[in-house]
């Protein structure tokens, strides 16, 4: 081998140097590894001085390959590739050895850590000498954007992009945009009415010339890659001609069929079979629910059609499909509410006056089923006492370990509404009170002054089994007051369960459809939890809102805007670089067996009928290597991951156990395996 390799070992402050003997490793690499002409260690390789070190050596020492032993390539591979490029070296001739994440952070023994770092570096040095120069390709970015989900996150993202002059397709599953926020009454901590701040934005979306609002629609298929996605959208039949409908609402008025509204009214109220979820719906066009519609059930009725003044009702309408091309996609698909019946000890569904937070929210809403009156399930009796149970399905090993983030503040808001609207005594049973955003702690203070009671303790049970005088016909809440160290039985008229926020039931399928990952719980995974919260590991796919994790409205809006800003950046730049680390098929060796075609997770491989061989679209290919491993004829090679490169790396990693190298692997003391 004739390559001149430079090895750079980063201290990362004490992150690496505190465990790995960096001086020793640098000295060893310079002396023992074939091809290494320069070997240095430095406090922070990622600093500009560290980068200059590499650049100078390339220029002055004539380095042809670079190995940086530092953190994970996820973090700084780009930095060091850029440094190489600055000095005129092809950036793909640089390799990183992750001696922080894979060594110093996980190996406690200093001697073993030092040995492991050496092995990692030996692997990288062996491999880098076989690297080839690669050139990224440039593709244009389509200025259209797809936003999935019309809650406040999707609305914000759409408006930001549309106001900046870029076309947006906003897809919403329900008949109207607005999401959960449209169901709420007040918003904490300022208590401004949710509808008052949301509906102007909704009508902006409806009227915006740059927004193509596709309500009652779902994304059916996604293909393509960053800058150039093709999306097929299914527009579910509304049975109402959108062109003709004026939104007058006569059809709704005349429809004789009433059903319980499980979605918008959370089961608390009714809607007709032809309906829009709420009066300020955007778009204002009703849809027919075929499952309950008398005409679809029995073939008779047609009241809506008879009375419609513009002949907009069309019972023959079919689902239709719309194909659009977009450059970027923002997923803002929101959340589902925890099913409180999964905690039967709280009696929801069995004890009438146990309510979920969303039911209570609808009840407080002036346009809700009780016109804003807080009443028991009978619809008339005002409660004399209300108890709010926190953390129902959150912070609970049996359900969700995470904190749902918004419930403490919602509970305080509910407390305020009870104080404002009724004479009832209101009590909160909390585990910890979490009020850590702007104005939140002050709101908590306010509720303390307004007379809301607070008991620290997770509620054990809500029961109707009266035991003592005063408990008859009440709900009895059994809770350990952990501040006083006593058990309490609190008889109340109404219990409100602060249900956890959960990922959408179909979040994993949606993630798969768009090629992004979900966390263990099912929240969409961001590229970096702190520094890249709205991007994903798939270029061109962004996430915003609660779909990424529980958060309150200000944070959701910020994420919606942030995702839009990221997309705008892509559009303004106009082109995007495509990684050259892709697989290619040697046509002469390909037998046309097509095994690889179905295996490719990115649909990047097609079969060329005329040539009878498979072909990999390099823009779609992510370089995962699945096809490379699967090809029975070994006709596929993965750039940057060729067999030779990988074997060389393995040989390097095992340098100290390969006989004849003179070195011996460190002996790890193991506990004897029990017989």
């Amino acid at each position: 081998m004739t390559e001149k390799v430079g090895v750079y070992i980063c201290h990362c402050g004490s992150n690496i140097a505190g465990v790995v003997d960096v001086e020793e490793v640098a000295k060893w690499a310079g002396e023992s590894l074939e091809g290494v002409t320069v070997s240095r260690e430095y406090k922070f390789m990622c600093s500009s001085l560290g980068q200059e070190l590499i650049e100078d050596d390339i220029k002055n020492e004539g380095l042809t390959r670079v190995v940086v032993a530092a953190c994970s390539p996820h973090l700084h591979e780009k930095t060091f590739r850029r440094a190489c490029a600055n000095a005129g070296l092809n950036p793909y001739l640089c390799q990183m050895a992750s001696i922080r994440e894979q060594v110093s952070w996980v190996v406690e023994d200093k001697e073993l850590a030092t040995e492991k770092a050496k092995a990692m570096i030996a692997g990288a040095v062996n491999r880098v000498q076989l690297h080839e120069e690669l050139e990224p390709s440039l593709v244009p970015v389509n200025p259209n954007t797809l936003v999935v989900g019309g809650g406040i996150a999707g609305i914000q993202a759409s408006l930001e992009l549309a106001d900046a002059g870029y076309p947006v397709y906003l897809v919403e599953r329900e008949p109207s945009i607005g999401g959960h926020m449209a169901q709420f009454d007040k918003t904490f901590p300022t208590l401004d009415c949710a509808a008052c701040i949301l509906t102007p934005k909704m009508s902006d979306v409806g009227a915006h010339p740059n927004i193509n609002l596709l309500s009652y629609s779902e994304v059916e298929e996604v293909s393509g890659y960053v800058g150039n996605f093709s999306v097929r959208i299914k527009k579910k039949a509304k049975y109402v001609d959108e062109e003709k409908c004026t939104g007058c609402g006569i059809c709704i008025e005349k429809c004789p069929k009433k059903v319980i509204d499980d979605v918008f009214e959370a089961g608390m109220g009714y809607r007709k079979s032809i309906y829009r979820p709420f009066p300020q719906a955007v778009p204002n066009i009703p849809v027919i629910d075929t499952e309950s519609c008398t005409y679809f059930e029995r073939g008779k009725c047609k009241a809506c059609q008879i009375f419609c003044p513009t002949e907009a009702i069309d019972f023959e309408q079919q689902d239709s499909y719309l194909d659009v091309d977009v450059g970027n996609i923002i997923l803002a698909t929101g959340y589902d509410l925890f099913d409180c019946k999964a905690m039967p000890q709280y009696g929801y569904g069995r004890l009438a006056n146990v309510f979920t937070s969303l039911e209570f929210e609808r009840m407080c809403n002036a346009s809700g089923p009780t016109e804003g009156k807080i009443v028991l399930r009978d619809g008339v009796t005002e409660p004399e006492s209300v108890l709010i149970v926190h953390c129902v399905g959150s912070r609970d090993e049996n359900h969700n370990r995470y904190c749902s983030a918004i419930c403490c503040m919602s509970a305080l808001k509910f407390g305020h509404l009870v104080v404002e609207k009724t004479n009832a005594e209101v009590t909160s049973c909390y585990i910890d009170m979490r009020t850590n955003q702007k104005g939140y702690e002050e709101f908590y203070e306010r509720l303390l002054e307004e007379g809301m009671n607070f008991i620290r303790g997770k509620v054990a049970e809500v029961t109707d089994a009266a035991r003592f005088p005063g408990e008859e016909d009440k709900l009895i809440v059994q809770v350990e007051d952990t501040l006083l160290g006593i058990q309490r039985r609190i008889p109340v008229d109404m219990v409100v369960l602060m249900a956890a926020l959960e990922p959408r039931a179909d979040a994993r399928e949606v993630g798969l459809q768009f090629g992004i990952a979900c966390s263990m719980e099912g929240w969409f995974t961001e590229r970096h939890p702190k520094l890249d919260p709205v991007a994903t590991m798939t270029d061109g796919i962004f996430i915003a809102g609660v779909a990424q994790g529980p958060k309150d409205i200000p944070a959701v809006v910020a994420q919606g805007a942030a995702a839009a800003a990221r997309v705008q950046g892509m559009i303004t730049k106009g082109t995007v670089e495509i990684e050259p680390v892709v697989a290619t098929i040697n046509e002469e060796m390909c037998s046309g067996c097509r095994i690889c075609n179905t295996l490719c997770p990115f649909n990047a491989i097609e079969y060329l009928e005329d040539k009878e061989v498979s072909y990999i679209n390099s823009v779609l290919c992510k370089g995962c290597g699945t096809c490379v491993a699967a090809c029975p004829a070994q006709a596929i090679s993965g750039a940057h991951f060729s067999n030779e490169q990988i074997f060389a790396e393995i040989e390097g990693l095992l340098y100290d156990v390969i006989s004849g190298n003179g070195a011996k692997a460190p002996q790890v003391e193991r506990e004897p395996i029990p017989a």
């Binding site: 039967p344 000890q345 069995r350 029961t463 109707d464 089994a465 009266a466 035991r467």
Partner: protein
Amino acid sequence: MMKEYAYFPGCSLEQIGLSYHQSSIETTKKLGVELKELEDWNCCGATTYFHVDELLAYALCARNLAMAEKDGLDLVAPCSACYKNSYFTNKYLKEDPDLAEHINYALEEDNLSFSGQIEVKHLIEVFVHDVGFDEIRNNVSKPLEGLRVAPYYGCQILRPKKDDEDVEQAEYFEELLSAIGAEPIPYPLKLKCCGGSLLISNRIAALSMVRNLLQNAEENGAAVIATACPMCQVNLECYQQQVNQEFGTRFSVPVVYFTQLMGLALGIPGKKLGIGKEIVAATPLAPYAT
């Protein structure tokens, strides 16, 4: 056709729960079910042994299972604790080949082995699932009309949870009582623990648990409480006097086994069912026990 089961009465049914034993045998016989007592059964480990030495406790339960398997019969236990211990031992042995290997090594000493071929059932499940409500209804000759019964499940027969079972709101006990013509009363505490062996370690706390159950059943109009477990029966009946002394209450609720009620409805003489041996006299049953 006669349904056959390996019958594991457990220690309680030999003495304090004798009437449960007698009524179990009588009612099953009447309904075409044969309970074949395991010849050399041993203790299930009760509530304590699993906390002392888990592996040995599994071995104890597995011995009964292995003997039943040898006879090719599913194991039936009338006692909830015997049932629960045998049930989950059976389940774990089936799911954990490592544990099964350990246990079978121990069983070898007794020339036994267990390969997970049988099921474990509580006696009440035999009536509910295997015999069926229709069959029971067809055999009832003296329906217990007008008898208000509190079905007391206790905490053990519903755990561990089986597929599709609503462990918090079970209804099958009620349906069984309806099938024999009695009137099951709804009361919220039907699944709450009776205190188990807590009476030994914390008498007041345990008596308070018993008090809650008695109060809840009585306030909801129960004439008798029906149990499916000798432990529950003892706690609810034998300690009623102590509850009354401790809390100044005046409970006098008879606590009988569900099999005794079934037996009466099937026309079996009360004496054969062990009726008449109660501490709290079962007077509400008098009209039916002729």
